[in-house]
C-alpha cells in the first residue's frame, strides 16, 4: 500500500505552520531560529514529494541546495547570536528592544 501524495503535502504544510507559529510566539532567539529550520525542512519535504509526483530528480537536487544554504545561514546566524549575547547577556527577544518599533 502506498501513502497518497496528499498526506505528505498536508504533513509538510502542518510542519511549516508549526514553524511559523513557533517563530511568532517563542521568545528565545535559539528557539526562533530552530522554528525557521523547521520551516525549511517542511519545504524540503514538499520538494521531495513533488519530485516523486513528477518523476523529476530536480526537486531532490533542490533539497540538497536548501540544506547547504541552511547550513551556511546557521553558521552566520549563530555567530550573530553570539555577538549579540556578548553585548546584552540575554537571548530573550523581549529584552532586545533598544530600538522600539
Amino acid at each position: 500500500m502506498t501513502v497518497p501524495i496528499v498526506w505528505y503535502l498536508v504533513l509538510s504544510a502542518a510542519l511549516f505552520s508549526i514553524g511559523v507559529c513557533g517563530f511568532l510566539i517563542k521568545r528565545n532567539i535559539i528557539t526562533i531560529f530552530m522554528s525557521i529550520e523547521l520551516m525549511l525542512n517542511a519545504v524540503n519535504l514538499a520538494f521531495v514529494t513533488f519530485a516523486n509526483h513528477w518523476h523529476q530528480v530536480s526537486g531532490q537536487i533542490f533539497v540538497f541546495f536548501v540544506m547547504v544554504v541552511a547550513a551556511a545561514e546557521a553558521a552566520v546566524g549563530l555567530a550573530i547570536i553570539i555577538s549579540l549575547f556578548r553585548s546584552r547577556n540575554t537571548l530573550n527577544v523581549d529584552q532586545i528592544d533598544l530600538m522600539k518599533l
Binding site: 525557521i36 519545504v43 514529494t49 509526483h53 550573530i80 532586545i96
Partner: protein
Amino acid sequence: MNEPMTPSMIAFSPALRILPEILMTLTGVLVMLVEAVLKPRTSRKPLGIVAILGTLAAIAASVYQLFLPAGTAFFGTVQSDAFSVFFHLVIGCIVLVTLLISLDYFEGHTSFVGEYYALILFGATGMMLMTCSVELLMVFISLEISSISTYILAGYRKRSATSPEASIKYFLLGSFATAFFLYGIALCFGATGSTNLYEIAKGVADGASPLLLTVAFGMMLIGLGFKVSLAPFHVWTPDVYEGAPAPVVGLMSTAPKAAAFAVLLRIAYGAFGTAIHIWMPLVWIMAVLSMTIGNLGALTQRNVKRMLAYSSIAHAGYLLVAFTALAPMGIAAASFYTAAYAAMNVGAFGIISYLSGYNEARTSLSDFAGIARRHPVAAAAFAVFLISLIGIPFTAGFFGKFYVFTAAINSGNAWLAVLGLLNSGVAAFYYLRLLAQMYMVPVEPPREADTAHARPAFILAMAILVLAVFALGIFPGRILDLARAGAATFSGPANAASQTVPVALLRR
C-alpha cells in the same frame, strides 16, 4: 533551455554570461586573502581601492554583455540580456559609490575592515546573479548569497549596542522570509513540474492548477516583499536601518531591493505573465499599503535614519505601482525607478554617515538644526537628495514618479496614481521639515567638537550621486532607452532568447 543556435552564438564561452559576477568574486577572494596577511594595525584603504577597481571592472563587463546576443547559459539557469545588464549597472554603481563612502568611514575604529569590503563584493555578486537568473534554484542561491552578506554587514559596528540588534532582527526576519519564498518555489514546482521560469510560464499558460499557482505566487510575493520591505512585511525596516552603519544602510536599502524587484519582475511578467489576474490584486493592495503606511509612519519619526527607513517603504510602494501597468511600460518604469531611487537614497545615507560619524551620535531631527551654516556643501547635497525624494522637477525622483504614474494611468489604474500622488504630498511634509530644520532653525553652538571633515573619496562619491540625480531628472533619455530595451526582452521566451540588444543604444 535550448536556444536556437545562430553562428554568432557558438563563438563565445558561457562564462561570459556571468563575467561581472566572476570578476566580483575573484576580487572578493583576493581582498580576503590579502586581509589575512596584513598586520592588524595597518590601514585597509588599499584593499578598499582594490575592491573599487574590481567593481569598475565588473561594471565594464556588464556593459560588454550588451554586445552579446541575449541568451541563456549553464543549462538555462542564467540569462544575460538588456534587462539583466540594466540592473547589473544599477547594482554596480551603488556598490562603487558605497565603497567610496566607506573608504574612510571605518578608518581607525575597527580592525579587519578588509572583510567588510569582501562582504560587500560577495553580496554584490549575489545581487547581480539574482538579476540574471531565470531558474528559481539560481534565484534562491543568489538571494541567499546577497542576504547572508548583508546580515553580517548590518552588524558591523560590533562595539555599539544597536548594531548587533539590527543584525539579529534582519537575520531572523530575512530567514523567515526566505522560508516563505522557498515554499512558494516548492508549490510552483508542484504545479508545473519545473523550476525554470520559462517552463513555469508554459505551465501557467496551459492552465496548471490555478489554486496552487495562486498560493505559490502569494508565498513568493511574501518572501520578496520582506526583502524589499513592502507594507505588511515592513516591520524590520526602521529598526535595522537605525542600528546598521549608515553606509551599509545606503547599500542595503537600494542594491538588494533592486535585485529583488528584478526577480519579482521576472517572476510576475515572465513566469506568471499570462496569469495577471492572479497577482494584480495582491500587488495593488501591497502598493497602496506600502505608500500609506510608509508615509504616515515617517511623519511621526524624530530619528532621521528611521524617517528615511519609512520613506524607503513608501518608495517601494511607488515602485510597485509600476507593476500594475501593462507589460513593457510597467517594467521600464519600475526599472527606471530603481535607478532613480538608488541615486537619491545612497546619497542621503552617505550624507548622514558623514554628518553623524562612525558613532552616529547625531541622527535625531534636532541634531540637524543649522547644519547648513556649519557644513554648507554637505547640506546643499543633502538638500538635493531630499528634493529628489520629494519628487520636485529636474531631479531623478520627479521623473521616476512621473514615469511610474503615467504608466499606471495608461493601463487604466488612475486611482492608484491618484493615491500615489496624494501620498507624495504627505511625503513632502516630512522631507521639507528636515530641510527647514537644516536651513531655517538658528545655529546653536555645537555641543561637542565637530570632527566631520570630508575626504576626497567621499566628495567624489557625493559628486557622482548629485550628478546622477540631475542627469536622471534632466536627461533621462539614455537610461530610459536601456530600461525600455530591458523591458522588451519580456515580450516572450522565444524572443528573449533570440533578440539582440540594440547596440546603437550605446553609440548615441
